[in-house]
C-alpha cells in the first residue's frame, strides 16, 4: 500500500476510479431513465421511485468495479450492464433518448 | 416515554449480548462463560431487544416506532459501551436502574 507502487499499478487504480465514477453514474442514469419510462406506475411515481433507487444502483456498481478481479473484467461487467440497459431502453421506447442518438 | 421503555429494554438486551462475549464476561465474573451461559445470555439479549422493538411499535405505531426504537437503542448502546470501558462494575447497578426505569416509564 506504500511508496513502492509501480506505474502499472497506479494506472490500474486510476482506471478503476474512472470506471467506477463514470460507469457508476452512467449505469445509474440509464437505469433511472429506463425505470422512469417503464415502471407500471403514474408518471410522477415512476420517476420518483427510479430516482430514489438510482443512488443504491450507483453504489452497487462502484463496489462491483472495485471488487472485480481485474480492470478488464470490471470494464467488461460494467460495459455489459450499460449495453443491456441501453438495449432495454431501445426496446421500451423505440429510440435512444437524448444524446444517445435517436 | 417510549424512549425510556425501549431504551431500558434495549440497554438490558445489549448488556446481556455483550456479557456473552468472553472479554466482557470476565469484567464481571472471574471465568470465561460456559457454553450454556453464552446461549442463555444471547437468547435473553435478543429477546429483550425484540421486546424493545415491540414496545416502541406498540406505543408509537409503524412510523415513529422504528425511529424511536433505533434512536433509543443507539443511545443505550453508547451508554453501555462507555460504561464497559470505564466502569465495568457499574453495569450491575445500571442494569437494576434500567429495570426500574423501564417499568416506571411503562406504568407512568
Amino acid at each position: 500500500m506504500s511508496g513502492s507502487l509501480t506505474l502499472a499499478k497506479r494506472a490500474a487504480v486510476a482506471g478503476r476510479v474512472v470506471l467506477a465514477v463514470g460507469g457508476g453514474y452512467g449505469i445509474a442514469a440509464l437505469a433511472t431513465i429506463l425505470l422512469s419510462l417503464t415502471l407500471p406506475l403514474p408518471r410522477a411515481e415512476a420517476v420518483t421511485a427510479a430516482t430514489l433507487a438510482s443512488f443504491a444502483v450507483m453504489v452497487g456498481v462502484v463496489v462491483v468495479a472495485f471488487a472485480a478481479r481485474s480492470l478488464g473484467r470490471a470494464a467488461a461487467i460494467l460495459g455489459g450492464l450499460a449495453l443491456a440497459l441501453a438495449l432495454a431502453l431501445r426496446l421500451a421506447t423505440g429510440s435512444f433518448p437524448f444524446g444517445f442518438g435517436s | 416515554m417510549t424512549l425510556l421503555v425501549a431504551g431500558g429494554l434495549g440497554f438490558l438486551g445489549l448488556a446481556a449480548l455483550c456479557l456473552s462475549l468472553g472479554r466482557h464476561h470476565q469484567a464481571l465474573w472471574p471465568s470465561p462463560p460456559t457454553r450454556p451461559r453464552v446461549l442463555g445470555l444471547r437468547a435473553a439479549g435478543w429477546t429483550l431487544v425484540a421486546l424493545s422493538l415491540a414496545a416502541a411499535l406498540h406505543f408509537d405505531g409503524g412510523a415513529f416506532g422504528p425511529v424511536h426504537w433505533l434512536g433509543s437503542l443507539i443511545g443505550a448502546a453508547l451508554l453501555l459501551v462507555v460504561t464497559l470501558s470505564y466502569r465495568p462494575r457499574a453495569l450491575v447497578w445500571m442494569a437494576a436502574l434500567a429495570v426500574v426505569v423501564t417499568f416506571g416509564a411503562a406504568l407512568a
Binding site: 506504500s2 422512469s36 420517476v47 421511485a49 430514489l52 | 424512549l3 453508547l78
Partner: protein, 523 residues
C-alpha cells in the same frame, strides 16, 4: 488489487474514506450543529424577546407590513419570501433576489411596526446550515461537491461493513489500555458500528434531498426536463403560474392570510409571492409540517391580483412521493421532540467521531518508524487532519465569540462574523501546519485541541460578560452556555487522551524491556 473480495473492499474503504474525509467531517459537524439551528440563531440574537401566541389579525397585519416594505424596496424582484412571526421568533424575515446570480437581500422587520428590527445583524445558525450542503461556495459547486462526497461516503460505509469480520464483538469493544493505533481503531469501529443505522440513513437521505439535481435524467426523460411540472405532479409544490407579461396590482395579502389560516389547521410559516407586479401574480401560503416523519408543508396558493384560492395542497401523496418526503423528513428530523433530538445530535456526534477517528487512524497506522523522516503524503494528511478536525470547531467558536464582541451597529456586521469563522479556522490550520516543523504530531494535536477547548470556554465567558443584560430567559441562555462548556470539556478531554496515547515505537520498546512477562495481545 489481485486479492480477495474482502481485501479489495478494505482498500476501497481506506482510500475512499481518506479522499473525502475532510469534507465529510465538515459536513457532519455543521449538520450536527444544524439540529439546533433555531437555538443557535436565538443565542446569537439575544435582543430578541419571545412573545405569547400571535393571533390571526396580528399575522395578517405583519404580512401587510411585509408587502409594503417589499413594494418599496424590492419592486423589481421576481419573487418575495416572507417569513412570518412565531412566538419563538417574533420577527418578519424578508428575502428577495433582484438579479439572478446576486446574493439575495435580507431584512428583519418588527411585526408590529414594520420598521427594521433593532437587533444585531448575524447569519446565526443559517451559516452552519448552508455550509452543511454548500460549503460556503457558489451553491451549484458546493452542492455537487457535497453530493459527490456523500456518494463516496456511502461507498465507504458499504465497503466498511463488508470489511468487518466481527461487527458483533466490535460493537461493544473500546479498549483504552492498548497502543494508540488500537485505541483509534476501536473508536472508529464503535462510533461507526453503534450508529450504523443512523450513518446509512443520514447519508442516503442526504443525497436524496437533492436527488433531482444529482440524478435529473428520469425527469429529463419523462417530463422533458420540466422539474416544476414534476414536483407539482408529485404534489410537493403548487402548480407554476407563468407571468402574463402585463402589469397587475397585488391585492392586499392580509385577507389571504386570514383565509389560508381558516383552510389549514397548522401554524403558518411563510408566504412566497411570485411575479408580484404581474397580472398573473401568485401568493403561496406555506404552513409548518403536520406531525409526522414526512417533510410535507401544506400550501394554499392564491391568485395575487384577486386573492382567490387557486390550489390547496394538503397531504394525499402517493407511495413513492411519500417515501421521498419521508426520507427528506428523516434527514431534517424536524419532527423530533427534545429527547429524540438529543439522540439525533448524539448520532451526529458519533458520525463526526467516526470520520475524525478514521482520518487520524490513517496517519497513526502509517506513523514513520523511529529515525526515518515522514513522507510528503503523510505530512499533508496530518496537516489537513489538524486543520479540519481542530480548525473547523475552532472557527465555530470564533464565530460565536465574534457575535458577542463585535459592536451591534457595525457596518457589514454579519459578514465580519463569517470572516472570524474562516479566519480562525485558517489560523488554526496554519498553526497546525507550522507546528509540524518542531513539534511531534502528538504535541501538535494536543495544542490544537486545547486551543479549541479554550475558544469554546471563551465564547461562554463573552456571553456572560457582554450579553447577560439582554437575556429574556436566563435559564435558557445558561443552558446553551452549559452545552458550550460541555463541548469545551470534550475537546479538553480528547486533548489529554491524545497526550496519553503512547506512540507504537515506545510501546514496542517497553514491551521488549518487559519481555519476561509477556502479555497476551488479544485481537
Amino acid at each position: 488489487m489481485k486479492q480477495g473480495f474482502r481485501q479489495s473492499m478494505a482498500w476501497l474503504h481506506t482510500w475512499s474514506g481518506l479522499v473525502v474525509g475532510w469534507v465529510l467531517f465538515a459536513v457532519f459537524v455543521t449538520g450536527t450543529a444544524t439540529y439546533y439551528r433555531a437555538e443557535i440563531s436565538r443565542w446569537m440574537q439575544p435582543e430578541l424577546h419571545r412573545q405569547a401566541a400571535i393571533g390571526p389579525e396580528a399575522l395578517a397585519h405583519a404580512a401587510d407590513l411585509a408587502v409594503a416594505h417589499l413594494e418599496a424596496h424590492a419592486g423589481e424582484a421576481r419573487s418575495w419570501f416572507i417569513g412570518l412571526p412565531t412566538p419563538e421568533r417574533p420577527l418578519v424575515e424578508l428575502f428577495w433576489r433582484t438579479r439572478p446570480g446576486t446574493a439575495p437581500d435580507h431584512v428583519l422587520l418588527d411585526p408590529r411596526t414594520g420598521a427594521p428590527a433593532a437587533m444585531r445583524a448575524t447569519k446565526g445558525g443559517d451559516l452552519l446550515y448552508r455550509f452543511h450542503f454548500e460549503l460556503h461556495l457558489p451553491p451549484l459547486w458546493g452542492r455537487w461537491i457535497v453530493g459527490i462526497c456523500a456518494m463516496v461516503m456511502l461507498v465507504a460505509l458499504v465497503s466498511g461493513i463488508v470489511t468487518h469480520r466481527r461487527i458483533f464483538s466490535d460493537f461493544f469493544t473500546l479498549r483504552r489500555d492498548k497502543a494508540a493505533q488500537r485505541g483509534w481503531l476501536d473508536a472508529h469501529n464503535v462510533s461507526g458500528v453503534l450508529a450504523l443505522p443512523f450513518h446509512l440513513m443520514i447519508t442516503y437521505t442526504g443525497v436524496v434531498t437533492l436527488a433531482i439535481m444529482y440524478m435529473p435524467w428520469g425527469v429529463t426523460a419523462a417530463y422533458k426536463g420540466d422539474q416544476f411540472a414534476y414536483f407539482a405532479e408529485t404534489g410537493q409544490i403548487t402548480k407554476a403560474r407563468p407571468a402574463a407579461g402585463q402589469p397587475g396590482t397585488l391585492a392586499p395579502v392580509g385577507p389571504m392570510v386570514a383565509r389560508a389560516l381558516a383552510t389549514i389547521p397548522e401554524p403558518l410559516e411563510r408566504l412566497v409571492v411570485s411575479n408580484p407586479r404581474d397580472a398573473n401574480s401568485t401568493v403561496v401560503a406555506v404552513f409548518e409540517e403536520p406531525h409526522g416523519l414526512s417533510h410535507e408543508h401544506p400550501q394554499v396558493a392564491f391568485a395575487g391580483t384577486s386573492g382567490t384560492i387557486v390550489e390547496v395542497l394538503s397531504g394525499g401523496l402517493r407511495p413513492a412521493a411519500k417515501t421521498f418526503t419521508t426520507m427528506v423528513g428523516l434527514h431534517e428530523a424536524h419532527f423530533a421532540g427534545p429527547a429524540l433530538r438529543v439522540l439525533f445530535f448524539l448520532c451526529g456526534l458519533m458520525g463526526c467521531a467516526m470520520v475524525g477517528s478514521g482520518l487520524v487512524l490513517w496517519t497513526v497506522a502509517r506513523l514513520p518508524k523511529a529515525g526515518t523522516a515522514t513522507g510528503f503524503g503523510w505530512r499533508l494528511v496530518h496537516t489537513l487532519n489538524i486543520g479540519t478536525i481542530a480548525g473547523l470547531p475552532g472557527g465555530i467558536a470564533a464565530y460565536l465569540i465574534a457575535n458577542r464582541l463585535l459592536p451591534a451597529d457595525l457596518a457589514g456586521r454579519s459578514e465580519r462574523e463569517v470572516q472570524a469563522f474562516f479566519g480562525v479556522w485558517i489560523l488554526v490550520a496554519a498553526a497546525g501546519a507550522a507546528a509540524n516543523a518542531w513539534l511531534a504530531p502528538r504535541q501538535a494535536w494536543r495544542g490544537a485541541l486545547a486551543a479549541v477547548a479554550g475558544l469554546f470556554a471563551a465564547a461562554v465567558l463573552a456571553d456572560l460578560v457582554l450579553a447577560r443584560a439582554l437575556w429574556d430567559d436566563p435559564a435558557w441562555f445558561l443552558g446553551f452556555d452549559a452545552v458550550l462548556l460541555a463541548v469545551a470539556a470534550g475537546f479538553a478531554l480528547i486533548s489529554r487522551k491524545v497526550d496519553r496515547f503512547r506512540a507504537p515505537g515506545r510501546a514496542r520498546r517497553e514491551a521488549a524491556a518487559a519481555v519476561g512477562t509477556p502479555r497476551m495481545e488479544r485481537a
